[in-house]
Symmetry: C2
Subunit: 200 residues, 2 copies
C-alpha cells in the first residue's frame, strides 16, 4: 500500500468543497470528506489539521509570495506601493479561479468559525508584511501601519470582487481601494489643517 | 446562601490576574482562580465563559461607548475624525489604569490564545464602528475602510503606550499614529502623482 496516495490532497479538497456546499460547512465531518474522496480520516489528517484548514491550504504560499515580493521590490518603490503591488499580484492569482474563489468566499461568510480562521490568517499576513518592510529598513511603527493599510485595502478589494459579478480585475480594485483609503483619512476636508511642506 | 456573591466578579478578576502573573496564563486553571477568590467554579462561569474572558470583560462596554460616540458626533465632523476621537477617549480610559493596563498587555502578548481573542475583539470593534458610520450615512465601503484605519491607529497607539514608560497621553499617541498612517500611504513621494484638486 503506498504511503502517499496520488493526488490525495486534491481529492480531499474537492470532496470537502462539494460537501460544504451541499450540506453547509457545520454539517460535514472529516470522516464524510474522507469517504467521499475514497480515502481514510488518517490520510485527511496527513494534509490538514482540521476541516477548516481545507479552505486555507493556499495561505502559506500566498503569504510567502507577498513577503518575497515586498522584500525584493526595488529600493525606489515606496513601502505602501511595494505592499499594494505584491497584494495586487496575490489577489489576481486568487481571483483568477473565478467561481471557485467566490464559492470559497461564500463558504467563509457562512460560518463564524471560518471567518475567525480567515481573520487569523489576515493578521498573520499583516505581521509578515510588517516584517518584510523592516528588512527593507522601514522603521517598525511605519512598517506596522503600512502593512495594516495594505491588508485593509486587500480585504476591501476582495469583498468588492466577491460581491459583484463584474469582471473588474483585482489590481484595479485594490488600487481603487487604496485611493479610497487615502480619501477616507485625508485631513483636507478640515479648514484648520494647513498643508505644510515636508521639513528638512 | 446568596445567589450572587457580593463583588464576586471583582474578586475573580483580581485572583485571575494574580495567578496569571505568578504562574503564567497557560498554567492556571479556572478551579485555581475560583479557589484563590474563595468562590466556586460554578460562580466563575456565571461571570466568564472561560479563563481568557477575564481579560476582556471591559470589551463590550468599550465597544458600546465608541459606537455611541461615532453615531452621535456632530454632522460637521468627518468620519475618520469621529472614529479617532471616539477611540482616543476609549484608549484614555483604558490607559488611565497605568500599570494595570500594561500588566494586561504583557499577559496578552505572552499567550497566542489571548492574542487570538484580542484580535477577534478588535475585528468586532472594527465591524461595529463600520456599522455606526453607516448610520451616519457613510457608504458601506468608505465606512469599512475608515473603521479599519481607526482600529489600525488605535492598535499602533496602544502598542506605543504599552511599550514605553513615558507618560504621553493616549490622545496624542493616537492622533500621532493617524498622521503617521497618512504619511505612510501618502502618494506624494512619487513624482508621477500630480496633486489634483477635488472635482466638483
Amino acid at each position: 500500500m503506498p504511503r502517499w496516495e496520488a493526488g490525495a490532497q486534491t481529492r480531499l479538497t474537492r470532496a470537502a468543497y462539494e460537501l460544504y456546499i451541499e450540506r453547509g460547512f457545520e454539517h460535514v465531518t472529516v470522516a464524510e470528506i474522507a469517504e467521499r474522496a475514497g480515502l481514510t480520516k488518517r490520510t485527511f489528517f496527513r494534509y490538514f489539521d482540521d476541516k477548516r484548514e481545507v479552505l486555507f491550504s493556499g495561505a502559506p504560499a500566498m503569504q510567502e509570495a507577498v513577503v518575497e515580493a515586498v522584500a525584493t521590490a526595488p529600493e525606489s518603490v515606496t513601502p505602501i506601493d511595494a505592499v499594494v503591488a505584491a497584494l495586487a499580484v496575490a489577489g489576481s492569482r486568487i481571483t483568477e479561479t473565478g467561481e471557485g474563489a467566490r464559492a470559497r468566499q461564500r463558504l467563509i461568510e457562512s460560518s463564524s468559525d471560518l471567518q475567525e480562521r480567515e481573520m487569523i490568517k489576515m493578521v498573520a499576513l499583516k505581521e509578515a508584511i510588517g516584517g518584510a518592510l523592516q528588512t527593507r529598513g522601514v522603521p517598525e511603527s511605519e512598517a506596522g501601519l503600512t502593512a495594516h493599510a495594505g491588508v485593509a485595502v486587500f480585504q476591501a478589494a476582495f469583498e468588492r470582487w466577491a460581491h459583484t459579478e463584474d469582471s473588474a480585475d483585482f489590481p484595479s480594485l485594490i488600487f481603487g481601494a487604496l485611493d479610497d483609503l487615502r480619501s477616507a483619512i485625508n485631513p483636507s476636508a478640515r479648514a484648520e489643517s494647513p498643508h505644510s511642506p515636508v521639513a528638512g
